[in-house]
């Protein structure tokens, strides 16, 4: 860290732009951006606003009112925020990268709901107000841009790879998005994966039995995230690749282990990865490690996808040769269809798998933790599940409509611990946000963590209360732009429905089978940012049989 911060300063001093800061933000984005949304997590935190100016909701009132009330649109230079120097110290010297979510809150309190920060030449405008977030997302064009993805693109160009949904922009992105959303975004298209996912849930439950027995009568499963990581990987792979990987077996197959290693490398070097893009090319011969590791982890991720895509492709070819009708799921349809090239399929399978593992596993880990810490809440959700399904009926997607507390549990978990604490957008037109003129091309950071915990959006905002999401009836609407963990609109998370299915089915069945309890090994766990918002320590809980 220290070396890096020196490096940063040196770069500044020499005016070698290419902006560390700017790149680091992007990296953050990239690294954070596992979700299809914009990945600005880093950036959002970067800034700080000005003390409590409550500009804004003018934009939301009808035009005539707006015209009357509107006084003057302020230029960006009048927007408050932390100084460049204090930001550098916060992030590079005080390791702010692991506290991005906290800094986001701190800056929001300090400077207000819209503030600017500078990371070298890169200006980031943070937006921490639900109405302003809504305004920005509603103003989107047909191919919204999250952030600069240069280092991702550079790797892909170097290896002759295509970009996928996370790394692509513009028309390239739109073409792939259109093909993929028609297959995995509609709830009814995803509901058909219920049986596949339930097969994985069955293995998850078996695995819990095996792991808790290692603690004898204590029945504690240590570090549930490790378990959920494997569940999520297995779950998303059974949908993306139409195959099982064996992650939840006692002996994990070698290929899958290699992939997990590549994924861990990508994740563990989150900071390094940021520097990989941040370090100017001319410095790479001197500091080669970040870029090399960045490439090595991508190599591992692509290799794994390619193995599975190629395997499916050869199956299809032999079926064709035998004159058989080709039937299959997502990958089969993409391979048979003509919308995407083979390279684009590799790239999207790689990026979607990458995006679909840690995100889901962290959320399941937090849900488990919150249920253990709040037995009364758990009891209410449990009763809803068994009143509808008993202890043995395996739920499918359609059953979840009768389990509003299961849906509320996932929403509330993501509100308290939004796996992507912030997101990014590059404005594609001039906007007036919060009374300020925001020129086209400005990097925005949408501060989801701050709005999620804003008591104006959510009363008793720090309390865990899944029932807040349960509607009295179909006319019971809330303006919930304060918590949009999957984003909103055409660049929102493409895996949203898949992730929801995986989480709803797993949580419903876990509650049917087990009471989740604190054990002597259960510690208080806080969140830290590591690209994504993650548990800062292992979550250890007891799984006690319900029957």
């Amino acid at each position: 860290m220290t070396i890096m911060s020196l490096l940063t300063n040196a770069l500044h001093a020499y005016g070698r732009k290419k902006a560390l800061e700017r790149e680091s933000i992007h990296l953050l984005l990239r690294a954070a951006g596992f979700h299809e949304l914009p990945k600005l997590s880093a950036s959002q935190s970067l800034e700080v606003p000005a003390a409590g100016e409550r500009v804004l909701p003018e934009m939301f009132t009808p035009p005539q009112d707006a015209a009357e009330k509107q006084t003057r649109v302020k230029p960006l230079r009048e927007m408050p925020g932390p100084s460049t120097i204090s930001n550098l110290i916060e992030f590079f010297y005080r390791d702010g990268f692991s506290r991005i979510h906290e800094i986001q809150l701190k800056h929001t309190h300090q400077y207000g709901k819209i503030f600017k920060s500078r990371f070298g030449p890169q200006l980031v405008v943070s937006v921490a107000d639900k109405d302003m977030v809504a305004q920005v997302l509603r103003a989107e064009g047909r191919a919204p841009q999250r952030a600069n993805m240069e280092s991702w693109k550079e790797y892909r160009d170097m290896r002759g790879r295509a970009t996928g949904l996370i790394s692509a922009e513009g028309e390239d992105w739109l073409k792939m998005r259109s093909a993929l959303r028609q297959r995995i975004m509609r709830p009814r298209d995803v509901a058909v994966f219920s049986d596949d996912v339930n097969g994985v849930v069955a293995d998850l439950i078996k695995r819990i039995h095996a792991l808790r027995s290692q603690d004898g009568a204590g029945q504690t499963v240590m570090n549930v995230n490790d378990l959920y990581f494997k569940y999520a990987m297995e779950g998303v792979a059974c949908i993306l690749y139409e195959t099982r990987l064996g992650c939840l077996q006692e002996e994990i197959p070698k290929q899958s282990l290699e992939y997990i290693a590549a994924l861990h490398l990508m994740f563990s070097m989150f900071k390094t990865t940021m520097y990989a893009g941040a370090i100017p090319k001319w410095l790479r011969p001197i500091i080669p490690k970040p870029w090399n590791e960045f490439c090595r982890s991508w190599d591992g991720l692509f290799k794994f996808s390619q193995i599975h895509v190629d395997k499916k492709l050869s199956e299809i070819k032999s079926q064709l040769a035998a004159g058989k009708e080709i039937k299959g799921g997502l990958l089969t349809q993409l391979l048979v269809g003509k919308e995407m090239t083979l390279e684009e399929i590799y790239a999207n399978m790689t990026e979607m798998l990458l995006a679909g593992v840690d995100t889901t596993s962290f959320t399941l880990s937090w849900s488990t933790y919150l249920l253990a810490k709040h037995p009364h809440v758990q009891q209410a959700v449990y009763e809803e599940v068994v009143n509808n399904l008993g202890h043995d009926q395996v739920p499918v997607a359609e059953d979840i409509t009768r389990l509003p507390l299961i849906r509320g549990l996932v929403k509330e978990t993501l509100r308290l611990f939004p796996v992507l604490p912030g997101n990014g957008r590059v404005t594609q037109q001039d906007l007036v946000v919060g009374g300020y003129h925001i020129p086209k091309g400005t990097q925005l950071a949408l501060c989801h963590y701050s709005t999620s915990l804003d008591a104006e959006c959510f009363p008793s905002s720090t309390e865990f209360h899944p029932a807040r999401w349960v509607r009295k009836d179909s006319s019971d609407h809330v303006d919930n732009f304060g918590s949009i963990p999957f984003g909103y609109g055409i660049r929102s998370c493409i895996g949203k429905r898949i992730a929801e299915l995986e989480m709803h089915l797993a949580l419903a069945q876990l509650l049917q089978k087990f009471r989740i309890e604190e054990s002597p090994y259960t510690k208080t766990v806080t969140a830290k940012t590591h690209g994504l918002l993650t548990p800062a320590a292992p979550i250890n809980v007891r799984f006690v049989d319900r029957q």
């Binding site: 934009m59 975004m185 609407h477 732009f481």
Partner: protein, 125 residues
């Protein structure tokens, strides 16, 4: 298709103009807007995949009551719709049936309409 498979729909656009078209039973209102090339700016951005609420439409009270059940996912997206009313639904989720023949649906003012009119008065910086 036979004439009895056609359903007449009157759209009222953001300028208050009435546009009358015919759609096929079973088609969604989003399908109708696309098939008939109706120019409602930004309408149906996510192509009916329940990822946005840009195909938000406002129905007459009586018609609203006859529309099919509303899913949780649609309600979640309606929460994010601009200018939500008590009789709002997403056009991608409403399929035409004979009983809806002759209905009038209103395309709500969009946020960009507001933005434009504000911009006109205020872009000073």
């Amino acid at each position: 298709l036979r004439a009895e498979d056609k359903v007449t729909v009157h759209f009222v656009n953001r300028d208050g103009e009435k546009i009358t078209v015919q759609g096929n039973t079973g088609d969604s209102l989003l399908d109708v807007v696309i098939d008939k090339n109706l120019d409602f700016d930004g309408f149906g951005a996510c192509e009916g995949t329940l990822a946005c609420s840009t195909c938000h439409l406002i129905f007459e009270k009586d018609v609203y009551k006859q529309l099919g059940p509303i899913t949780d996912e649609e309600m979640d997206m309606l929460d994010l719709a601009y200018g939500l009313t008590d009789t709002s639904r997403l056009g991608c989720q409403i399929c035409l049936s004979k009983s809806l023949d002759g209905m009038t649906v209103k395309v709500p003012e969009s946020v960009s309409d507001v933005r434009q009119s504000v911009d006109v008065g205020t872009t000073t910086s």
